[in-house]
């Protein structure tokens, strides 16, 4: 199977989703990509990394031999709701292993799982937190109760920087004042003795040449992205990337490895996921007006094992 995957990667056309002249570049996809930016930035991988919002019609789902889905739970659920079965599509998909339990039964024969093997070392004295601050992506109601416990793995004396990208809510258009960014900032600041230094994206990229830094994502649930462009960038610079949360439900058979940088790699898995929660999520999603309501996020968060 892994040889077949390698073969597909060599003949696959690399998809350039964010190019303005891409035929798949719909307004809805563009909006979603901007809500996820910079996590949604394009990067190259032979397995054709892309997001499902670019698939607007069935014929587009059949257009590629292999697609590495970079989606988080949010857009992945949306995709499976729009395309509950593959129909004529023979495309081989790869889904983040932590989200494999969301893959509906009809899709599973042509869906592999991937897991990023972070070159993990103990956190350094300089921590750089980064994440998308959006109620659609952060299960803050649940996470706020765990943040102290989660932060205990880091030294309170560490130097702390944060890149908090405040983004539009992709589906939820209520106009209430949002306090999430302040609450997240306070949640982190309360633990550390040093003042948080806030970064913009350019300054975040410059941290890449700092070998003393460890990058820590706040998207622990993988609700926003399964394979983040920022993570890819940090890994490419051989920077220490702190592993994100892992769900326990997946136990597939490892069929191979793919290097992502000189220090990090991606493991590819095949196999059945014993736990099939798709129908539950599907039902919950149908009952709610928006793809990931707080309740649904809460359900996802309950499955999380904090690393």
């Amino acid at each position: 199977m892994f040889d077949h995957l390698k073969h597909l990667s060599k003949q696959a056309n690399f998809f350039l989703g964010n190019r303005w002249n891409s035929p798949l570049h719909t307004a809805a996809a563009t909006e979603m990509m901007s809500c996820l930016w910079p996590s949604s930035d394009d990067f190259y991988h032979p397995l054709n990394p892309m997001f499902t919002p670019f698939f607007a019609e069935t014929r587009q789902v059949t257009a590629y031999d292999v697609v590495l889905l970079r989606d988080g739970a949010h857009t992945l659920l949306d995709f499976y709701m729009r395309f509950p079965a593959p129909k004529k599509s023979r495309t081989l998909f790869l889904v983040n292993a932590d989200l494999y339990f969301l893959v509906p039964e009809p899709w599973r024969p042509q869906t592999l799982a991937y897991r990023i093997d972070y070159k993990y070392e103990a956190p350094t004295k300089k921590l750089v937190f980064y994440g998308l601050i959006s109620e659609s992506f952060m299960a803050w109601n649940r996470f706020r109760h765990h943040i102290d416990k989660w932060l205990k793995q880091f030294s309170p004396d560490a130097e702390v920087s944060a890149y908090l990208a405040i983004r539009n809510e992709p589906m939820n258009h209520n106009w209430d004042d949002k306090t999430l960014a302040f609450e997240v900032t306070a949640g982190i600041q309360n633990y550390f003795k040093n003042k948080i230094e806030f970064l913009n994206f350019d300054n975040l990229k410059k941290q890449g040449s700092n070998p003393e830094a460890t990058f820590v994502s706040l998207d622990l649930l993988r609700t926003a992205v399964g394979f983040c462009a920022m993570e890819n960038m940090f890994m490419g610079q051989a920077i220490k990337v702190h592993p994100r949360g892992i769900y326990q439900a997946f136990n597939g058979e490892k069929i191979g490895e793919w290097p992502l940088s000189f220090g990090h790699k991606m493991s590819i898995y095949q196999g059945e996921c014993p736990d099939s929660d798709y129908s539950t999520f599907f039902f919950m999603k149908k009952m709610n007006a928006y793809p990931l309501t707080p309740k649904l996020l809460d359900t996802l968060a309950a499955r999380l094992t904090v690393v």
Partner: protein, 452 residues
């Protein structure tokens, strides 16, 4: 050569300034925020050290001009410079472009009727900012100006744009406190890295970039090893980038070049792969150990910005023999007396791309493999530092006052390139229809190869 009256007047004025006050007032303008390019960070730091060595003649005032400087800080920096009423304004950094600072500063100088002299150290990105240089022309017109290229080949290229008599060569300095030959190969580090005692270790340091031809270096090394059965290894220290070949219509995405390299590795035999080592990014402070443990530095870059080659200068200062392409600033590392220790691989320039003579590269591998043990590494380091050390650069820049010439205009090609840059949105040297270099590129960059 006849000196113009104004030059004589200016030199007299400068020397009288020195004799009256004993010191020449120099404002050094550079970005206090370090550049994203590691080599530029080191260049600025070392150039500053060179000027500081002349502090018995120069009264230095440091002025910050950074990218994204706030309006308040911009005015504060400008005011600091104007109030200092310097004899010379010196631009050390490659970014931001001086025009954005001088457009404000020169207006203030005009109000107090003061015109300083200007020194510009030019970098490889000179050819990416023609528009800005053209805009600078009226601001420095009639002022005394001195332009420094980092190498002879860069100087030759710049003569297309700047009057030759105003151009001089000043290498980017190396600090011997950081890079020098310690007297013996670092066997402990070789052991730590898993390199065998008896194998020849070729090393590349820097960004792994398509224009630096890492893919060709990798496959040619493997081929050469298979053909000669040489006991050798190649080590790459650095990260892949995504610069691509924009002027040939080949942009690149994050990780694209990394996966291309991995594909070449995939196609190699197990034995070939065992003799290739990618370390990934390593901090600058670790580089001296790599240079002391390796046997030869190899860099076959044909990058458009290769005006000098900071890593080559540092490696040579650490006593390493070099295999380099005969391209741009690399040519300058074959100093007299080092013809054996520095092997230059010929390059041909063509509208479709730059062609490296790979047979010559294999010959250079063999030459170094057979001879590296007989080279006197102390001599390599000494000869290199005679030219590139901070002390020598201090000596070169101490002659600044005698070298100023009145600036009137850039040469017509600068205006042509500036217009082209504007109308083609920075694809100045590209023929997009043919996906090749255009005539302008061939005219300008022909200076980067050995004249045929």
């Amino acid at each position: 050569m006849r000196l113009s009256t104004s030059v004589i007047f200016y030199v007299v004025q400068l020397f009288s300034a020195i004799s009256n006050r004993g010191m020449l007032k120099v404002c050094v303008v550079y970005s206090f925020k370090p550049s994203a390019w590691v080599s530029c960070q080191k260049i600025v730091t070392n150039l500053l050290k060179a000027y500081e060595l002349n502090q018995d003649q120069l009264e230095l005032t440091l002025v910050d001009f950074s990218n994204r400087i706030t309006d308040y800080d911009f005015v504060a920096s400008g005011t600091k410079l104007v109030n200092a009423k310097p004899d010379v304004v010196l631009f050390l950094d490659h970014q931001p472009h001086p025009v954005y600072f001088l457009s404000w500063v020169m207006r203030e100088f005009r109000e107090i009727d003061h015109t300083p002299a200007f020194v510009f150290h030019l970098y490889g990105d000179f050819s990416l900012t023609f528009k800005e240089w053209v805009a600078l022309e009226p601001l420095i017109e009639k002022a005394n100006v001195l332009w420094y290229a980092a190498s002879e080949r860069q100087k030759a290229m710049l003569t297309e744009f700047i009057p030759e008599e105003q151009l001089h060569v000043c290498p980017f300095p190396v600090d011997p406190k950081e890079f020098r030959w310690n007297g013996k190969r670092d066997e402990a580090f070789r052991k730590e890295m898993g390199w065998k005692d008896d194998e020849t270790v070729f090393i590349f340091t820097g960004r792994l970039s398509r224009q630096k031809r890492i893919h060709q270096l990798l496959s040619t090394f493997a081929e050469w090893r298979r053909e000669t059965q040489a006991n050798a290894r190649i080590v790459f220290v650095g990260d892949p980038d995504k610069v691509g070949e924009p002027w040939l219509g080949k942009p690149e995405y994050d990780s694209e070049y990394f996966h291309d390299l991995m594909e070449i590795m995939d196609e190699m035999s197990e034995d070939d792969r065992a003799h290739v080592h990618f370390t990934g990014f390593r901090p600058n402070k670790e580089l001296p150990r790599f240079y002391h443990a390796a046997d030869c530095l190899v860099n076959i870059s044909v990058h458009n910005d290769e005006d000098y080659g900071m890593t080559c200068a540092e490696a040579q200062a650490s006593g390493l023999p070099l295999i380099l392409t005969d391209w741009a600033g690399f040519h300058g590392f074959q100093r007299p007396g080092l013809e054996n220790e520095v092997q230059l691989v010929p390059v041909r320039i063509d509208p479709k791309g730059k062609l490296i003579n790979l047979k010559a590269l294999k010959r250079a591998f063999s030459h170094m493999h057979e001879n590296h043990k007989s080279f006197n590494r102390e001599k390599i380091a000494r000869t290199s530092l005679e030219w590139t050390s901070v002390a020598n650069v201090a000596n070169i820049v101490s002659r600044n006052p005698t070298r100023f010439k009145v600036f009137s205009k850039f040469l017509p090609l600068m205006h042509h390139a500036g217009h082209r840059e504007y109308y083609t949105k920075h694809n100045t040297f590209s023929d997009f229809k043919k996906k090749s270099f255009n005539d302008l590129y061939m005219k300008v960059y022909r200076h980067y190869v050995r004249p045929s």
